[in-house]
Each structure stands twice: as structure tokens, then as C-alpha cells.
């Protein structure tokens, strides 16, 4: 136990006594908390801008951050700080345009419009924003606490129980799970995963000669990971938006007006008591959903809202506002659920190295590019007296997340209430800027023109995916998991003495394989019932 406390303390020290960013009045300002602060402000702003999303901002800033902080282990916490700041800020900021202008800034804020906007129109925009902020941060905080407690135990359990063949089976399970739950049909999900694996296997492997390069010298090191991931996720999205713009001829579906009349605004007496049970329920729903790879915050928001509505209707007094007409409980149920996803999402990342959503993808990419921290079960080795530096980083990340929540509780609310104006930037100005910044940041990291062509190519792939309703996130997750999958499979094969049936020799791996097949059969769905009825495309 004292080991654990010792490591927690080291993690806190790593954050606050890390390398200084600059000196202010003789005091050295540690880089990590400062970066977290700026990341949080960026995240809130990005979340508040319809058409932008947290993962997009994380993607664009990652290469720039790496070029600023370099590839040393000292760079890890400042870079993670900024990325975590964006992740946390964006979950709060997404509610702003949803409430003020009926335009959800992120897909998971769609349900927030249902009650948030009516409340704002009824003259209480500040009250709606305040409820959204409180619920969102409360959900996020709960989820983080679950992460802090669960990730180390899960990791230790995994390392004890899983041998190489079982680890291989677990990776296969997570890929099939992601394919099954994301997007409109199983076939499209599997297609996305397969293309991701294929792209990642170019020029990797153990031979002295790179494979699958078709003799192109530019491909000898494979597709640069940032170029492929940003191409599919961001450039593809931009291509789609440009086409939408050309077709519609207008910059954006017009948001209807802001609040009309003013009544007593701000948090009302009794609001907190009223929304607390809804926040608690939704926080649990969001956390459970978040812990599963690939399911995502949109589903969490819908479930949170639906459960909240059911409870509300059963207990509603005559004076209470019903859901859909500006009920504070409705805002709370949605925002707590979608924000509770973000912490729990890191459980599979930190304990298994498996990213569950786009935000997690960029945390893994950051760790991968900088080096010195390999998310996975090996992180949580409580060694003494020798200090395990990766574990210190993990607790540093936890410290940063807690700090982010504190900032969100305090300054986040004031900042988000000042950002209503961002929802009015037309797409025709926004998109070129995003494209330019994306390409610049890729060039900063790769310094090769070839990387830009690769980005462009994957952008077209991302565009085709979206037009054919093939989900893009399974592609990205498969692209990232391809290497660990091949490596563990190779190692498992070798460690079992070249047994071709190594995946089917132990009860645990058989169980995981059963779950793989089960996920494909039982999670398979043809309807789009988990999709929001309309609204922005899922870019998470």
C-alpha cells in the first residue's frame, strides 16, 4: 500500500516539478500544468465551435507539440497535459452551441439541445449552461475516479492471467468488438477494420525487405502514422464538408436565434438537489459504456437521456417541466452521461494499450511518437526500491486529469459562457483554416512532402468511407493495433513452439474467442437505432 502512495506522490511531483516552461517573476512555471490549462481553454473553444471536435484539435496539435517538446521522456507529461486538457475542455464546451443556438458542437451534445435550448429560449441560458457544466464535470470526475481505481487492478489482473496467446485473442476480440458496435452494419465495420490492418501492414514485419510496398521507395518505412490517421479522420471529414457546402450553397444550417426574453437566470434554488440523482445515474451509465472500446459517448448520452426521461416521467409533479421542454434534469442526464465516457475510455488504453475512441487514439499516438511510455499492462509494475518511470507517468496522467477537473469546475464555466460567438463562424472560413493547420502540423512532424500525399490519399479514403457509410474509427483503431497484434501473435506462435493452434489451447483464450464470435453475432445490427437521428457526422 505504501508503494502505491509513494507512486501517487511521485506522479504528483512529476507534474509540478517537471521541466519549466518559462519563468515568471523568478518562479519556474512547470510545463505540464500550464499546458493542461491552455489545452483546457483550447478544448472548450473547440467544443463550442460546431464542426470542430476535441479529437480533431488533439490530432492537429500533437505533431506541433512533439516538435516543440521533442522526443525525450520529459516531453510526455506536458504533451499529455495539453491533450488531456483538450479532451476535458471539449466535453464541457460542446454544450455551449447546443444550448444557445440549437446547434450541437459535438455529436454527443445532440440530446443537450432537447432541453438546453428550450430553457435558453425561455430566458435562462445561464442556468442551462451552469447545469450543463456541473453535470458534465461531475460525470467526468466520477469516471476519472473509476479509472484511477480500476486501471491498475485490471492491468495487474491481465498480466497475471493472460499469456501471449490470450493477449493475441484479446486484441482480436477488441477489433471485432469495435467493428461490430460502430457504424451502421457489421459488414461495414469489418471492412473498415480490414482496410486499417492492410494499410498498417505495409512495409512492417520482420524481414530484411519491406513487404507490400509494390516497389515504391517512398513506402519503405510504411505509411506515416500521423499522415494516415489525420488523413482519414480530418481531411476526409473536410472533403465531405466541402462537398456539403458546394451542394447546399450555404455555410451552415442556420441556427435559430438566441434567447429572447430574460427571466431570473442562473442556477435556481433546488436545482442541484433536483439534478443530482440524474447525474449519478448517467455518470454510471457513461462510465460503463466508456469502458468498452469503440462504443462512444453518443450512445451514452442517448441512454442517459432515455433512462432519465423514464425516471422523470414516473416521478414528475404537476409543476415540473417535462423532458423536451427545458427540464434541467434532461440537460443533466445527457451531459453527465456523455462526459462520464471520457475517463472510463482510458481504462482499456492504460491497462491494455487498446484505444477505444479517437481521443484515446491520440494519447496512444503521443506515447508512441515520444517514446518512454508504452501504455499496457507492463506500466503498472509497482517496483521498489527501483522506480518504474512508466508508472510515475501514469500517475502523472491521473494527476493531470484531476487537475483538469478542478479547472473545469472553477474557470471552465466562466470561460464557456463567454464563447457563444464561436458558433457563428461560417464553415467556409473554418474549413480552410483547419485544413491548412492539419497539413502544416503533419509536415512539421514528418518533414517530407510524401507524407502530405499520403495524407491526401487517406483523406480521399476517409471521404469514400463517409459517403459509403463505413465508419472511420475502426480503421484508425485497427491501424494502431495492427502492430501489437502481429507482434503478440508472432511471439505467441514462437513461444508455443510453433503450434498452429496456439489460439485454441487455453480456456481463457477459448473464452475470448467465444466472445469474439459472440460480439459479431449478438452485437450485429442492421438498424441505425444507436445513431442520432440527425446532426453532425460522428468524428470522434
Amino acid at each position: 500500500m505504501s508503494d502505491v502512495l509513494h507512486y501517487i506522490w511521485l506522479g504528483i511531483l512529476a507534474v509540478f516539478q517537471g521541466p519549466a516552461l518559462f519563468h515568471l517573476l523568478g518562479f519556474a512555471l512547470p510545463a505540464a500544468p500550464v499546458m493542461l490549462f491552455f489545452g483546457l481553454l483550447t478544448g472548450i473553444a473547440v467544443g463550442a465551435t460546431p464542426g470542430l471536435a476535441g479529437p480533431m484539435a488533439m490530432a492537429i496539435s500533437l505533431p506541433i507539440l512533439i516538435s516543440v517538446f521533442g522526443f525525450t521522456p520529459d516531453a510526455l507529461l506536458p504533451v499529455f497535459g495539453f491533450l488531456i486538457g483538450i479532451m476535458k475542455g471539449a466535453t464541457v464546451g460542446g454544450a455551449v452551441p447546443a444550448i444557445l443556438f440549437n446547434t450541437p458542437g459535438t455529436p454527443d451534445a445532440l440530446m443537450t439541445t432537447l432541453d438546453g435550448h428550450p430553457m435558453a429560449r425561455a430566458g435562462q441560458p445561464r442556468r442551462a449552461l451552469r447545469i450543463a457544466q456541473i453535470s458534465s464535470v461531475a460525470g467526468d470526475t466520477f469516471s476519472d475516479l473509476v479509472l484511477f481505481v480500476c486501471a491498475p487492478f485490471l492491468a495487474i489482473l491481465v498480466e497475471r492471467v493472460l499469456d501471449l496467446p490470450e493477449k493475441t485473442a484479446l486484441l482480436v476480440l477488441s477489433l471485432s468488438f469495435v467493428a461490430a458496435v460502430m457504424g451502421k452494419s457489421l459488414g461495414r465495420g469489418l471492412l473498415s477494420v480490414s482496410i486499417g490492418l492492410l494499410a498498417a501492414y505495409v512495409a512492417t514485419g520482420q524481414d530484411f525487405y519491406p513487404r507490400l510496398t509494390m516497389g515504391l521507395p517512398g513506402l519503405e518505412n510504411g505509411f506515416p502514422m500521423v499522415a494516415a490517421v489525420l488523413g482519414v479522420l480530418i481531411v476526409g471529414e473536410i472533403f465531405c464538408s466541402i462537398e456539403d457546402l458546394l451542394r447546399a450553397g450555404t455555410s451552415r444550417a442556420t441556427a435559430d436565434g438566441g434567447p429572447e426574453k430574460r427571466t431570473s437566470d442562473g442556477l435556481q434554488p433546488g436545482d442541484l438537489k433536483r439534478i443530482t440523482p440524474y447525474i449519478a445515474r448517467s455518470a454510471i451509465i457513461g462510465t460503463v459504456i466508456g469502458a468498452m472500446p469503440g462504443v462512444g459517448s453518443t450512445l451514452a448520452a442517448m441512454l442517459g437521456y432515455t433512462f432519465g426521461k423514464r425516471r422523470h416521467e414516473a416521478r414528475r409533479g404537476p409543476a415540473d417541466t417535462p423532458f423536451g421542454q427545458g427540464a434541467p434534469e434532461g440537460i443533466a442526464a445527457t451531459e453527465a452521461a456523455n462526459s462520464a465516457v471520457s475517463g472510463a475510455n482510458l481504462i482499456p488504453v492504460l491497462s491494455l494499450g487498446i484505444p477505444g475512441n479517437a481521443a484515446a487514439v491520440f494519447l496512444i499516438l503521443a506515447a508512441d511518437s515520444i517514446g518512454g511510455f508504452n501504455p499496457g499492462p507492463a506500466v503498472f509494475r509497482f517496483t521498489a526500491p527501483e522506480v518504474n518511470p512508466e508508472l510515475v507517468i501514469a500517475f502523472g496522467i491521473f494527476t493531470l486529469m484531476s487537475l483538469g477537473n478542478i479547472l473545469n469546475w472553477t474557470i471552465g464555466g466562466a470561460f464557456m459562457r463567454s464563447l457563444g460567438v464561436l458558433a457563428r463562424i461560417p464553415n467556409r472560413y473554418l474549413l480552410p483554416v483547419v485544413l491548412l493547420v492539419t497539413l502544416t502540423s503533419i509536415y512539421v512532424q514528418e518533414t517530407s512532402f510524401f507524407a502530405l500525399w499520403v495524407t491526401f490519399g487517406f483523406g480521399i479514403l476517409g471521404y469514400l468511407f463517409r459517403r459509403a457509410a463505413v465508419p472511420v474509427l475502426p480503421f484508425v483503431i485497427a491501424f494502431i493495433l495492427a502492430k501489437p497484434l502481429e507482434e503478440t501473435a508472432r511471439e505467441a506462435f514462437a513461444a508455443t513452439g510453433g503450434d498452429p493452434l496456439f489460439l485454441f489451447r487455453s480456456p481463457v483464450s477459448l473464452l475470448l474467442f467465444g466472445a469474439t464470435i459472440g460480439s459479431i453475432i449478438f452485437l450485429h445490427r442492421t438498424s441505425d437505432r444507436h445513431e442520432p437521428p440527425s446532426g453532425p457526422r460522428e468524428t470522434r
Partner: protein, 317 residues
């Protein structure tokens, strides 16, 4: 960004170069690109960067370290081949890169003659490592477990290590399950996680061995290991080959002899000067620097190539 940095560095080098040129007789005509054939953050990477830092401090040369990992150093060799041989580009690999790996690749571009060996920096403390207090913490226990029919998972970090593991198995009558993993760190992670039973590590095991977590059960080099001098040499256990080697700087081929000498001497100078961080690190991580240059190094490399050819022949029979 990089070109801006490079031109700034060039400017800096132009400003500072003349003074040192007088002092040492030779100075690089521009900033030096130092390729590092290892993943960022590991022991080999740290060592290379500290040497770069030492060269900058002692000689005023501008040295820009750059990662070129993968493929047992051959990725680096390939990249280096297209650089000029005027002393503005060299890279850190292991002696194995231009010996075993080059031979095994059967690619004439990687022949020893196509490169210039500048200087070694540290010798491997390569041991066969197991968890202390575990089932396999002595060679006798490994033999007994094998005799009892238990499969033994043997982690290796390069093809040469895998070949020697296989050869050792042949000579001792043990059919190892040889598992190729990423680097010595990969072997140690496998041991800790219970995915591997034993494995080769080239020096990074020193810390866990000193702390009593792991143990060298055999020495893979022609000498006794510093940390476990009692561990038998694999050549005493029956192997005809060992896994001796050095970390080494190489440059493109056909380098002028005075340039080669100047670079080799500068590296030696940094590594043997007890005031440099590179010296302190070599002491801590590798039990001290071990610098071989010039003809002595050429002879060592030629012998290594021969040994590699014999090893490949021995395991393919």
C-alpha cells in the same frame, strides 16, 4: 522547421568552426548528422546523445542527433549510404549490424567495405537472463526442466541472438521455443510478465541483476560477466559461438583516412575524459567505455563477418 534548424546550426558551425579547426587540424565542413539506430529513450540512444553533446562541448562541432531505428541497424546503414563521406554524417549501430545482419541480408549494399568503421563505444555485457528465485534461475535448472519435458521459452532480440540460441539448443540437446521480441527491454518485460522463461540481454539487465530481481545464468561473451562472474560462458556449455559485440559508430564508405582518424579520436576523447557525461554514463550502464578504432577495429570487424558466416552455416545445416 528542420531546414531552419539546419541552417541555424550551419551558421553556428561556420562561426565557431575556424577556432577549433586550428586547434585540431580537422573540422567538419558543416553540422554533423548523427543517426541513431535505436529507439529513443533507451540506453544506446542516451549514450549516443551524450557523445553528441560531448563532441559539441569539447570540439565546438554542431551535432544533430536523429533517430533511424529498425531492422537491426540496417535501416540506418541504408540511410547513411546516401550521405557524404566528408565527416558530416555518421551513425550509431552495433558491430552485429555490419557483420551478422549484413551477411544475413545477402544484400551487397551492406558489405563491410561499403562503410567506414569509426570507433566502438562500449562492449556488450551480454548474458542469458532469468528471473531470480524463479524456475529457471540457473543453467542446471534449465537443463533439468528441459529433461522433464517442459517447453522453455527463450527470448531473443535479434536474428543473430536467435541463431545462437538455436545453436546452443542443438549443442546441449534442448529444443528451445525461440521467441523474437523487441530489444533487451522486450526480453525483460517478457520475463517479468511470465511470457518468457529465459532470454539474451546485452547490458540493460545490469540494474535488475544488481537489485536481485534477475540473474545472469550464463555469459554470452568470451569473458565472465561483471555482475555474475560465476555464470558459465556459453562456449563452456557447448556452444561454438558467442554473442560478443560493441556499440559502434559507422560512416559512409571511402572516407579519407585523416577524417576517419579525426572522428575516431574525437569519440575516444569524449568517452575517456572523466569530466564528460558520456564517460559517466558508460561507467554506469556498460561498466566503462571500450573504444576500438583504426586497423584494430577493421580486424575485429573482419573476424566478426567470418564468425557470422560460420554461424549462419552452422544453424542452416
Amino acid at each position: 522547421m528542420k531546414s531552419v534548424l539546419a541552417s541555424l546550426a550551419l551558421a553556428a558551425a561556420l562561426v565557431s568552426a575556424p577556432f577549433h579547426a586550428w586547434a585540431d587540424g580537422w573540422a567538419p565542413p558543416g553540422p554533423i548528422k548523427m543517426l541513431i539506430g535505436f529507439a529513443a529513450g533507451g540506453g544506446a540512444d542516451t549514450q549516443a546523445r551524450l557523445i553528441a553533446q560531448g563532441l559539441e562541448k569539447k570540439y565546438g562541432w554542431k551535432v544533430l542527433p536523429e533517430q533511424a531505428p529498425g531492422n537491426s541497424g540496417l535501416n540506418l546503414a541504408k540511410q547513411l549510404a546516401s550521405e557524404p563521406a566528408d565527416g558530416t554524417a555518421f551513425g550509431m549501430v552495433v558491430t552485429e549490424t555490419l557483420a551478422y545482419s549484413a551477411v544475413a541480408s545477402k544484400n551487397p549494399d551492406f558489405e563491410l567495405s561499403k562503410f567506414t568503421s569509426l570507433a566502438t563505444t562500449a562492449r556488450f555485457q551480454l548474458g542469458l537472463v532469468a528471473m531470480k528465485g524463479g524456475e529457471f534461475d540457473s543453467w542446471d535448472k534449465v537443463k533439468a526442466a528441459a529433461a522433464a519435458g517442459k517447453p522453455i521459452r527463450f527470448g531473443t532480440a535479434s536474428d543473430r541472438q536467435a541463431d545462437v540460441a538455436y545453436h546452443l539448443g542443438q549443442k546441449t540437446g534442448i529444443d528451445f521455443n525461440i521467441v523474437p521480441v523487441k530489444g533487451g527491454a522486450g526480453v525483460m518485460n517478457g520475463l517479468r510478465g511470465g511470457d518468457l522463461d529465459i532470454g539474451w540481454v546485452a547490458g540493460a539487465q545490469s540494474k535488475p541483476v544488481k537489485q536481485g530481481e534477475m540473474i545472469n545464468i550464463a555469459s554470452g561473451i568470451p569473458a565472465a560477466l561483471i555482475d555474475n562472474p560465476e555464470a558459465p560462458k556459453i562456449t563452456d556449455l557447448g556452444s561454438d559461438f558467442n554473442l560478443d559485440g560493441y556499440f559502434m559508430f559507422i560512416a559512409p564508405g571511402n572516407m579519407a583516412p585523416d577524417v576517419r582518424k579525426a572522428l575516431g579520436d574525437a569519440i575516444r576523447d569524449v568517452l575517456t575524459d572523466s569530466s564528460t557525461e558520456a564517460y559517466a554514463f558508460a561507467q554506469k550502464a556498460f561498466g566503462g567505455a571500450s573504444v576500438v578504432t583504426g586497423e584494430e577495429l577493421d580486424g575485429y570487424m573482419a573476424d566478426s563477418v567470418d564468425a557470422s558466416k560460420k554461424l549462419i552455416k552452422a544453424v542452416s545445416n
